[in-house]
């Protein structure tokens, strides 16, 4: 059942034109647009540098709760502006999740093509590795890699890139094997096109929608993974910040300054929920079985 059907009056009625853009989807799209703006224009939007400390103005509440007017969302334990930190935290979290998902999609799709092309032992080996990855929660694999190789920023993005490659590999392998038996692929091969040309120019465009849907499924997962690891203090580390890092650091000040932890938590929650809602909606629209009705 899709998230969007929840908020429709009757989910067994045919989808009418006005039901194509339910209010909840529009709200989610607006929120995602806002996050994209923050991601792109963080430098202009943030009123202060996210690292500037001011020990005289520590743990001030947001201005609507009686704090200082110049710090809209208050300050943290080192007197840093929470709004500015939140803006940069969103930028870093989105950057890591985007990078991680892209790397995973690229590795997985490539391995899927290789498995489908060579079949036999190569395919077995790739699928066995996919099974191994799927047999452990990725959080544990990531923790093991961090224990081994340490916690640099680019290394962390690379580790996030390991997430979900096996799903892309299985998906691509399946659709490429199916596509290879289609007449258009046979025809182009018979005309003498090299395999690489067939895959890139003919098969890839045909399976792109499946890959895009998987991308929208993976992206919020990587955000959750990054924020979880950063929350544990093992992902993005100071002086850099991320939503999870802010939340983890703010946890120590729950009694005196709850806003340091709660605001980034709300940001994570709203982001992942918006992506799920929009993703479900896109899936419904791309699904030919639903459109036929």
């Amino acid at each position: 059942m899709a998230l969007t059907t929840l908020f429709r009056r009757k989910d067994d009625a045919p989808v009418k034109a006005e039901a194509r853009y339910p209010a909840i989807v529009i709200a989610a799209l607006i929120l995602l647009g806002l996050i994209l703006m923050i991601f792109l224009f963080a430098d202009w939007l943030a009123p202060y540098d996210y690292r500037t400390q001011s020990l005289l103005k520590r743990l001030k509440p947001p201005s609507f709760l009686g704090g200082l007017p110049e710090h809209l969302l208050g300050t943290d334990e080192l007197g840093r502006d929470v709004l500015s930190r939140l803006i940069y935290a969103i930028r870093f979290s989105v950057l890591v999740a985007l990078g991680g998902t892209l790397i995973g999609a690229l590795i997985g799709t490539t391995l899927g093509f290789i498995a489908a092309h060579f079949r036999g032992l190569t395919e077995e080996a790739i699928m066995m590795l996919a099974d191994v990855q799927a047999s452990l929660p990725f959080m544990m694999i990531a923790l093991a890699l961090i224990a081994l190789f340490g916690g640099g920023f680019f290394l962390f993005v690379a580790i996030m890139g390991f997430y979900g490659w096996e799903v892309f590999a299985r998906l691509t392998r399946g659709v490429v094997i199916a596509a290879n038996t289609q007449d258009y692929a046979t025809a182009v091969t018979a005309l003498g096109a090299p395999a690489r040309h067939v895959y890139l120019r003919h098969v890839l465009p045909n399976i792109l929608s499946v890959l895009i849907v998987q991308f929208t499924l993976n992206f919020p997962q990587v955000i959750l993974l990054e924020t979880s690891l950063s929350f544990l203090g093992l992902g993005i580390r100071p002086p850099l910040t991320s939503l999870g890092q802010m939340l983890g650091a703010g946890r120590a000040y729950l009694t005196s300054a709850w806003w340091i932890a709660v605001l980034p938590g709300m940001a994570i929650f709203l982001t992942t929920m918006s992506i799920s809602i929009v993703g479900d909606w896109i899936r419904d629209r791309l699904d030919p079985t639903l459109q036929a009705r």
Binding site: F138, L232, V262, G265
Partner: protein
């Protein structure tokens, strides 16, 4: 389940565990000298030699590998680098707490989720259905570390009803179990609802109604067992989430379980302990998936027939 198929699945599981064991061994040898990380690069040569001998790192690589695999097969995962005690002892001491929390959360999530899913399916498109499904969406969208912190803020700091850390009494279990269980309740509610909706329209349920079977018996006796198959599939898929979730929840609520042990081991880069936990988890996951397969065959006679034909 037919013996041959079970054996094939078992062999595949064994292969998976062996691959993980081998990959951790390779990764460990790629990552540099653990002794240097332990004693520092300023340490005198004889100290380093002593530790190399103690951890068996002075032998050729293939000997290390053979004794490593043989040790694991006998339940010997080596010594924790930072604690110098057998890794398995540290895990064994922490495991009961993790199991208690995990099982409580899992049962809570399952009972609540399946119950709510049935209620939602029976009241399809009524306000109660929409309410339950909104709860489900909330349940699996809220990151568990954030939910845990919200619960601590409200129940421990604001109303001062429940303890926020430790695991001394049954009261300490409530908040972590709710935090971990909510995610599963949301997922199970969603899947139970759609599975029940599918089954409730089937001919045999209509036939049961026609012959006058009362509604509770119809729902619980005729419909639910048939809806159980997708639900059990989800249980198998979500076990990994339970493991990952308990790492976070144990940290949030300071429960001294395996999850916290793992986080501390990663922080101090005690890879011997990390790999022991990794391998133990993969064995558990493989066994759990075998159990799920066995349950399929137990509850679905068709599955038994289909499988023996294959």
């Amino acid at each position: 389940m037919p013996g041959r198929l079970f054996l094939a699945k078992f062999a595949r599981g064994l292969l998976t565990v062996w691959l993980i064991v081998t990959l951790t061994f390779v990764a460990l040898n790629l990552s540099g000298d653990p002794i240097e990380a332990l004693v520092g690069d300023q340490a005198p040569a004889e100290v380093i030699a002593h530790y190399r001998e103690k951890f068996g790192l002075d032998r050729p690589l293939w000997q290390q590998y053979v004794s490593y695999v043989a040790g694991i097969a006998q339940g010997d995962f080596g010594l924790s680098l930072s604690d110098q005690r057998p890794a398995i002892d540290l895990i064994a001491a922490a495991l009961p707490r993790t199991l208690r929390l995990g099982l409580t959360a899992f049962v809570l999530g399952l009972v609540l989720g399946v119950g709510l899913g049935i209620v939602a399916a029976l009241n399809r498109n009524r306000p109660i259905d929409r309410f339950v499904m909104s709860f489900a969406v909330l349940g699996f969208s809220l990151p568990n570390f954030f939910l845990g912190i919200l619960l601590i803020l409200l129940f421990s700091l604001h109303w001062r009803l429940l303890p926020s850390s430790g695991d001394q009494t049954i009261w300490h279990l409530i908040l972590p179990a709710i935090t971990l269980g909510t995610h599963f309740a949301g997922t199970f509610a969603r899947f139970t609802r759609s599975a029940m909706l599918e089954v409730l329209n089937k001919q045999y349920v209509v036939a049961a109604r026609a012959k006058g079977v009362p509604r509770p018996r119809r729902v619980l006796w005729h419909a639910l067992p048939n809806a159980a198959i997708p639900i059990i599939t989800i249980i198998g898929l979500k076990l990994g989430d339970l493991v990952a979730g308990s790492i976070i929840v144990e940290t949030v609520f300071a429960v001294p379980g395996v999850g916290r042990l793992l986080v501390n081991a990663v922080t101090s880069r005690d890879f011997a302990l990390v790999q022991a936990i990794l391998i133990m988890t993969s064995i558990t996951m493989v066994l759990a998936n075998l159990a799920v397969d066995a349950i399929y065959a137990l509850i679905d006679p068709r599955m038994r027939a289909a499988r023996s034909e294959r």
